[in-house]
Structures are given as structure tokens and as C-alpha cells.
């Protein structure tokens, strides 16, 4: 029997301070350990010998095939395993002509082919063994799994994940290139509810993320994010029933429309001045109503139009023109008017 090591924690995390970054990678690997089945990563091409074969044959197989253990089967059932240790014992006794059944280990730890990798990991950690035979549902020998097989299985799965993310990013950043029309645009629509402070900033944050995914530079995404945030908070704070925000993304420009159905602004010129605010004391306590919203927008966008009619509503149009190196969706040349 080998030394038993009762330690369920995979060795690579032992004694390490688990940082957020590491925690992220554990989570995905752990997740994979519950998704991938043992049969998907085990070695199915097996080298086996019958119990009446000679130890001489086992020694020869180990040498030629570069393996450290040979499985012993009888009528497809696993009956034992000859390890390097067993072979050494045999060599010490000088009994290479003895049958395998005399030197093989028979108390075997096995795994089920339909179990998940987490079972294999636990068993490796618990027993300290490096390779485990795998049985199928009929308890017949189906394969053998090593720690290396598990690692390879994880790496393959992670590589697949990584590749998928790459493809998604590539697709998003080449969105406009791949679609042919006289003028292609992507429109994002958001409904903003009156007094919904809980979701305040959700639309702007989503728009910023979308722009980054489309390949916009961070400075541009920030400018658009700030403009949309101010428009969004105006709809939350100052309207009767909230409103809508549409963001139209084109390779050469981003157009933002925010509108509502009331109450409307009496003097739009006055409203544009920094410091002008109609916010209540309650709103000011929350940190809003500095009178900087529309002014902030004017600093972030290239063009801005505020139209309003008392009792009817307000429409705010903002445009950001993209320079060639700021373009989103990699389609600047073909889409430019």
C-alpha cells in the first residue's frame, strides 16, 4: 500500500493566498470539474495482460511503451494492476518467470467513467495515486486516467472558452464590416422610469460597455457614458413619467436621443447655464441638482440640441463625431458619408 494523503484540496492551491484573480480561475476550473466527465479525458487505448502472463512480459511492455503500470484483465474484467513497485519486488526475488497474478496489486481504487472530473481529483488527492483505472456502467474496464489527462482536459476546455470569447469580441468589433448596406447603424433603446434611482446609471453603464465591446477607445466610451448618464438622471428626476433614450451607433458618429412627455422646460437657454437647477431639497440631498447636468453634456458631445415645450415634453439630441482612430466596429472607411 502507498502512503495515504487525506487532503481534498488540489495541491496547486495549497498554502496560497487566494486572490480575486485566482478565485476567478478556480471558479471556472471547478465548474469544469463538474461539467467534464471522466470518460471524455481518460485514455481508452489500454495495454493489458492476462493474469497468467509472465512478469517478464510486463517488464518488456513497461520498457518499450514507456509506461509505469500495466492493467491485468480476465474476460474484460479488471482483476489487478502491476506497478513499477511490484516489478521491483519481483526483480529483487529474481522471479521474472513468475505469473503476473503472483505480484499484481489486487486492492484497486477505481473510478466510474460516467462520473465527473471532480471525483477523479478527489480520489487523486485522497490516495496520492498517479493513475486510476476507470470502469464503465457494467463494471468492465473502460480506460485509465492520470493527473496529466485531467490537466489536459481542463486546458482543452479553457482553450475552447477562450476561443469563443475571442470570436465574440472579433465579431462585435467587425460588426459594421460584415454587414453591407448604404448606411448601417446599431440602435440601443432604453426605457427610463421616473424616480427609479435604483437603476439610475444602468443605461449609461450598459452603453459604455457596449461601446468598449465594439472596440471604441476608453476615452470616447467615457465621454458618451457621462453624456448619457446626465440625460438619464434628468429623465429620472425631472419628468412626469420618465422617458426613453436611444443611442444610434454608426462607424463615424454616435447619436443620442433622450425624450420625455413632460413637464417641459420653460427657458431652455437658462437651463443650459451651469448652476441652474429646479431640483427639490430632497433631490439635492442625494447629491443631484447641482445644475451641471446639461452643461456637462455640452462638454462631452460635439453637437447638442435641446428642444422643449411646456406641457408637451422635451427632446435632447446629442451627437459625437468619431475621428478615424476612434471608430467603432472597424467600419469607418466604408461607412463614412
Amino acid at each position: 500500500m502507498r502512503d495515504l494523503d487525506f487532503n481534498d484540496q488540489p495541491p496547486r492551491f495549497k498554502g496560497k493566498v487566494i486572490t480575486d484573480q485566482l478565485a476567478g480561475s478556480i471558479t471556472r476550473v471547478e465548474e469544469l470539474a463538474y461539467i467534464i466527465r471522466i470518460e471524455e479525458v481518460m485514455t481508452k487505448k489500454l495495454i493489458t495482460v492476462p493474469p497468467d502472463a509472465s512478469m517478464q512480459l510486463v517488464a518488456e511492455l513497461m520498457r518499450v511503451k514507456h509506461i509505469s503500470g500495466v492493467l491485468v484483465t480476465k474476460d474484460e474484467a479488471l482483476v489487478g494492476l502491476v506497478s513499477t513497485e511490484d516489478l521491483i519486488k519481483c526483480l529483487i526475488n529474481g522471479e521474472l518467470s513468475a505469473p503476473v497474478s503472483q505480484y499484481m496489486s489486487t486492492e484497486l481504487v477505481t473510478l466510474n467513467s460516467f462520473d465527473f472530473l471532480t471525483e477523479a481529483l478527489k480520489t487523486f488527492a485522497r490516495t496520492g495515486l498517479g493513475r486510476l483505472p476507470v470502469l464503465d456502467e457494467q463494471k468492465k474496464l473502460a480506460g485509465i486516467i492520470t493527473k496529466g489527462d485531467v490537466t489536459y482536459g481542463f486546458l482543452k476546455a479553457l482553450e475552447h472558452d477562450y476561443h469563443e470569447e475571442e470570436v465574440r469580441r472579433y465579431r462585435a468589433s467587425h460588426l459594421f464590416e460584415d454587414i453591407e448596406s448604404d448606411r448601417t447603424s446599431l440602435i440601443l433603446r432604453y426605457v427610463i422610469k421616473h424616480y427609479d434611482f435604483m437603476h439610475g446609471g444602468a443605461a449609461s453603464s450598459n452603453i459604455k460597455k457596449a461601446l468598449l465591446r465594439l472596440g471604441a477607445n476608453p476615452q470616447l466610451a467615457r465621454r458618451v457614458g457621462i453624456a448619457v448618464y446626465e440625460a438619464e438622471m434628468n429623465l429620472i428626476i425631472h419628468t412626469d413619467h420618465g422617458g426613453s433614450i436611444h443611442v444610434e451607433i454608426e462607424p463615424h458618429q454616435i447619436s443620442i436621443y433622450a425624450w420625455d412627455d413632460g413637464p417641459g422646460i420653460a427657458d431652455t437657454e437658462e437651463a443650459m447655464k451651469p448652476g441652474y437647477s429646479t431640483a427639490s431639497e430632497e433631490i439635492r440631498e442625494l447629491g443631484f441638482g447641482a445644475g451641471m447636468g446639461l452643461y456637462n453634456i455640452s462638454r462631452c458631445v460635439d453637437e447638442m440640441k435641446l428642444e422643449s415645450e411646456l406641457g408637451k415634453g422635451t427632446q435632447l439630441t446629442m451627437k459625437v463625431f468619431l475621428k478615424e482612430d476612434e471608430t467603432v466596429g472597424e467600419g469607418y472607411q466604408s461607412e463614412k458619408e
Binding site: 439610475g200 459604455k208 467615457r222 447641482a290 452643461y295
Partner: protein, 113 residues
């Protein structure tokens, strides 16, 4: 000067640290409780000192990519705000001291932009 050193020297309570604080180097600071002023004034990777603790500070910090928010005078954000900060990767710190004291300390530590 890393965010970790600032946290230690000002004895700040870490409410959320979704990023590695030893790897963040704040380059500037900003103080205001008016969100639109923060929108105008706070730079990328700055430390924002405020006594506001409601959930909209997370949205602002996220849009501006600030390095961290220091919430002063012991104001505590609610659980939803803390969760939102974790989801959005915003570092939230808390202190019983007032904003004036905190900014003074940050100035002493060399954050003067």
C-alpha cells in the same frame, strides 16, 4: 503610492475590493457630494471623497473609472449598493473621519493633483 498603502495609513474600512488594491495607483483626488460636479471634475484613476452613500455613487464611479470611493463620516451604503459595487468592480472604502480630514491626509501622502 498604492491604494493598499492608502487604506493602511488612513485605516480605512474596505467595504468592497473587487480589484487587487496593491495594484491600483491613484494619481489624483476629487471631493464633492454633488454627482454632476464629480462628473465634471474627477479624473480617471482618482480617489473620490464623499459623504454620499446611496447606489448612484457606484454608477458615477463606474462611468468615470475612479480608483476608489472613500465614504466619510461613517456613512454606510446599503447591501444593494455594496453588491452593485462588487458587480461593477468599484472599490468602496469607509471612514468615520470627515472629508476635510481625509483629503488633508491624502494631500500629505502626496496625492495633490
Amino acid at each position: 503610492m498604492t491604494l493598499e498603502q492608502i487604506i493602511q495609513s488612513l485605516e480605512l474600512e474596505v467595504l468592497t475590493a473587487p480589484k487587487e488594491v496593491s495594484e491600483i495607483t491613484p494619481t489624483s483626488g476629487y471631493i464633492s457630494d454633488m454627482l454632476s460636479c464629480v462628473m465634471t471634475g474627477a479624473k480617471n484613476q482618482s480617489i473620490w471623497v464623499t459623504l454620499q452613500s446611496h447606489n448612484n455613487i457606484v454608477a458615477v464611479a463606474c462611468l468615470l473609472d475612479v480608483a476608489a470611493i472613500i465614504i466619510t463620516e461613517g456613512a454606510k451604503p446599503d447591501d444593494e449598493t455594496i453588491q452593485k459595487a462588487k458587480d461593477e468592480g468599484v472599490v468602496l472604502l469607509s471612514t468615520p473621519h470627515n472629508s476635510f480630514y481625509v483629503v488633508g491626509k491624502l494631500w500629505e501622502m502626496g496625492i495633490r493633483d
